[in-house]
Amino acid sequence: MSHLKLSGISKSYGQFNALEAVDLDIAKGEFVTFLGPSGSGKTTTLMIIAGFESATSGQVEIENKSLFGLAPYQRNIGIVFQNYGLFPHKTAAQNVYFPLQMRGVKKAEGLRKAEEMLELVGLKGFGHRHPKELSGGQQQRVALARALVFEPSLLLLDEPLGALDKNLREQMQIEIKRIQRALGVTTIFVTHDQSEAMSMSDRIVVFEKGRIQQVATPLELYHRPQTRFVASFIGESNLIDVKITDAAKREARNDAIGAIQYAPSNRPPTGSEATLMIRPENIKLSRNPVEGRHNVRMKVETIINYGDNALVVGKVGEQMMRVRVLGADVVIIKEGEECCISWLHDSVYLIAK
């Protein structure tokens, strides 16, 4: 049974459709990430769930109860905002106590609970500080404690890590996951950073142009993207436009590369247009063709060395190809040379148009 259910949510501003028919079910205790570029509708969806925006049409339900007509303060949903939204005139403890105060909890008990919550997020003894006396990461934790202390039915995180530097981000990702598991709270996390989404989520919802492109676990999203957009947005990929020449034999044709075989797929019929995806790490680079693999000759244009690995960019005819190789293997090739690239049929994934 779903905990949160969105059905047919649309939002339009005049002629512009910000969201189109968004359907989504989220189970209790799940950690779901809304991923997409800015303007894709992920934040709008979040704000509709929170009650700060009203949908043009559609329903939001929690535990089968519609939220229609409920103001944000009646929804019992915890939110951590991008810039935290900590009250500057209140101490950390008072900030965390605030939602309890609004629910009529007595001051002594409320402040005790607030201290407990601060301890859970690793800020024991920081309760008396004002937000401006705390570091960015600490402010983040206070905001998290405040959004959780009143046991909300849902926790919304709106790009909460955007303002932190890289090391702190990773630390906070782990921290947020730990706290979320400890409390078992259903969580929606909004981000435009795919690696953040991959590392934290039970499931990822990919948004583009006001539509949900795909809802899937991180691994599924990486290996079986359903649209060309998802394939290009999640991880690196070589996307090759083809025409299916024989659906039964799983054969397709690209003008530059020629005939390509793809992994088992039941979808497009012969003659239809499609896109093939090959991840750069599934392509092998060698001087000579390799037995048992599909071999193509590529002219190497650029080599970018990262130390442990390298990215080799080159062209097969007019088709640009990216190949990821181990750092040690890159020495066999130089920029401007021709080489052989190869892959297994099973690593060629077909995406229907």
């Binding site: 929170a50 700060f52 103001a71 944000p72 303060y73 929804r75 019992n76 949903i77 915890g78 939110i79 905002f81 991008q82 810039n83 939204g85 900590l86 009250f87 500057p88 005139h89 605030f98 939602p99 609004m102 629910r103 500080r129 401006k132 006396e133 405040r146 959004a147 009143f150």
Partner: protein, 263 residues
């Protein structure tokens, strides 16, 4: 070039400072008319000021009028500023302009208008008349200060409060108002000072009964140059020194404390 600028700067600084400073020794002077350097020193004119009703009454009137003006101004300006800063609606441009208009109209023009207009109601020469007029002149100043503050207000804070279960009213009381408090205080202070210092309109409409301090000073300077003016000037100047330096000192101490707390 730089040395030239420095000397020029010092000269200008003296030009600006000298007239402010000179009223202080003058207030302790025992001369009957303007004379500098003073022939001798005493506190007689301070005593004169604090015992003479012809000076105390205008002082009291000014405090009364400025306080009432401040209250009326804030009651009108606070909701209007929220409307103008936070909402977009037709006629907003005109409303904005209307708020600032009193700054653009010379006070002498308003004085002529009030003299005749309030005369027709019979409220010229009354406290009420001066308060009503001064409120118009204080509105733009209070509005400018408050709207600058409100524009800088992070509305995420209100959204956060709403999401945490506070109704719009409680959000306003617990979050919006406390955070805006410094802005509100400064805005009210500016309104108060504007009224307390306003001279031209007061000269024409305050009359004998509602005579304000600036009007009394103006008349006195014009007629006899009563040395008590030096006393009042010194007191006003002292108030300005306090008003300008105390916030600086307080901010300095707070900064130090914050740095200690963070360390």
């Amino acid at each position: 070039m730089n040395r030239f600028l420095r000397w020029l700067g010092i000269a200008v600084a003296i030009f600006i400072a000298a007239p402010l400073v000179i009223v202080v020794p003058m207030s302790f002077s025992n001369a009957r008319s303007l004379q500098f350097p003073p022939p001798g020193y005493w506190l007689g004119y301070y005593q004169a000021y604090f015992t003479d009703w012809s000076w105390l009454r205008p002082t009291w009137n000014s405090i009364l009028i400025a306080s009432a003006t401040t209250m009326l101004t804030m009651v009108l300006v606070v909701p209007a500023t929220f409307a103008l800063v936070r909402h977009r609606f037709r006629g907003k441009g005109i409303a904005d302009l209307m708020m600032l208009m009193p700054l653009a109209v010379p006070h002498i023009v308003m004085a002529v208008g009030y003299y005749s207009y309030f005369g027709s109601f019979g409220i010229v020469h009354t406290h009420l008349g001066v308060i009503l007029a001064h409120t118009c002149l204080s509105v733009p100043i209070a509005f400018l200060v408050l709207s600058a503050n409100l524009k800088g207000f992070d509305r995420t804070l209100e959204r956060a409060a709403l999401s945490l279960g506070a109704s719009p009213t409680r959000t306003f009381i617990h979050i919006t108002l406390p955070i805006l408090r410094p802005g509100l205080i400064i805005s009210a202070l500016f309104a108060f000072i504007q009224s307390f210092d306003e001279t031209v309109v007061a000269i024409f409409i305050s009359g004998r009964d509602a005579e304000t301090l600036p009007r009394k000073m103006f008349d006195s300077i014009r007629q006899e140059a009563d040395p008590v003016i030096a006393v009042i000037s010194t007191l006003l100047f002292a108030a300005v020194i306090l008003g300008v330096t105390v916030p600086l000192v307080v901010a300095h101490i707070r900064n130090k404390q914050a740095r200690l707390a963070a360390a």
